[in-house]
């Protein structure tokens, strides 16, 4: 019985200071992923450079689970561009196409969007009393896409236990393998 516990416990053979190294290693893996994300944020200019398409409202162009790379710069919006935007009070970003643009003389724009696969425009989705989107609602323009890669995110969203499970497995794996 104690042999079994000895085998299960990966720490029984590791000298003390290496435990700090193991923890730092785990931290570095998380940090590297984070830094890559931050780098993408800087490169694309968008606060969320990669989004997953969550609904089928843009079929046949995009399916649920597709991964989109977004870009955001100071340039003008154009009708027909696919943009990702967030409504105040709702945290889920929406991927739809620009239907109408009204540019005012002071440079501000009013934008109306619609999903390709939806029967009506997005006014029903906007916040109470909101008729138009503005530049500050928009997270970015869709610039590139990878089909179905984002399904993993959707599954993790639907089953949060999966997310916790994966993190725990990763942590155990990293903490129990030693550097040579």
């Amino acid at each position: 019985m104690s042999e079994l516990i000895g085998k299960l416990n990966p720490f029984s053979n590791i000298p003390k200071y290496q435990i700090a190294q193991q923890i730092i290693n785990f931290g570095l893996i998380v940090s590297t992923a984070l830094m890559i994300w931050k780098f993408l944020m800087i490169a694309s200019g968008s606060e969320s450079p990669i989004v997953v398409v969550l609904s089928g409202s843009m079929k046949p162009a995009f399916e649920r689970g597709d991964l989109l790379y977004l870009d955001m710069n100071e340039g003008p919006f154009r009708v027909g561009e696919i943009v990702v935007f967030k409504i105040e009070g709702k945290e889920i970003p929406i991927v739809h196409r620009i239907l109408q643009i009204h540019e005012k003389s002071n440079g501000l724009v009013d934008i109306l969007t619609k999903g390709d696969n939806n029967p009506v425009d997005d006014r029903g989705l906007y916040a109470e009393g909101q008729l138009w989107l503005n530049r500050n609602h928009i997270i970015g323009r869709a610039r590139g896409y990878l089909p179905y890669v984002g399904m993993v995110t959707i599954m993790m969203h639907d089953f949060p236990q999966l997310k916790i499970f994966l993190v725990v497995v990763l942590a155990l794996f990293v903490l129990s393998t030693r550097e040579q």
């Binding site: 053979n13 830094m35 040579q180």
Partner: protein
């Protein structure tokens, strides 16, 4: 000394054919031999540097993530953090690839004596474990290498036969010291 009698060392057991854990067991035994039997002190400087750099890297990441200013405005901080993180990552990679390489221990006997370094290799699917002892930073004295098949050191159940390994090690180290004293 009753302390030594009470400190019974548990024999180390590895899964047979798991060459990684076997190499680690042998490496650990080498370190133990050097520190316990020969009285060397380990030089952990590189390891401490790595832990420190790793810690700074994690702090940079935390700073980048939790800085209270929202996105477009915190771009300068993000750029600084990402840039220094990339530098730290490169340094750590450099240390691992070019400075630490195969070495398993750096040690000195007395503080003003020359430092030795020991490297070991156990190639994949090859049962021969090779250990190389040499002086650090001094290239003229000859390094001593010693190869033996690892099946000499593990029994059928996977228990590590420490005494046999230590016997071989003592021969190797004596050879190293005598060869290099003749300078």
């Amino acid at each position: 000394m009753s302390d030594e009698n009470e400190k019974k060392e548990k024999p180390v057991q590895v899964t047979l054919y798991d060459s990684l854990s076997m190499k680690q067991t042998l490496d650990d035994a080498v370190v133990k031999y050097i520190t316990d039997k020969l009285g060397y002190k380990q030089n952990h400087k590189m390891n401490y540097i790595k832990v420190l750099l790793g810690f700074i890297g994690c702090c940079l990441a935390a700073l980048a993530q939790f800085y209270p200013v929202p996105f477009p405005q915190n771009k300068p901080i993000l750029i600084v953090c990402v840039f220094f993180y990339a530098i730290i990552s490169t340094i750590l990679y450099y240390i691992n690839m070019f400075i630490q390489k195969d070495y398993i221990v750096f040690a000195v006997k007395e503080s003003n004596e020359k430092e030795i370094q020991v490297s070991s290799t156990l190639p994949r699917y090859d049962p021969n474990y090779t250990i190389k002892i040499e002086y650090r930073n001094i290239s003229t004295p000859t390094p001593i290498t010693f190869t033996k098949s690892i099946d000499q050191y593990f029994d059928i159940k996977g228990y590590f036969v420490q005494d046999k390994f230590f016997n071989d090690l003592s021969g190797v180290f004596k050879k190293f010291i005598t060869t290099n004293k003749a300078e």
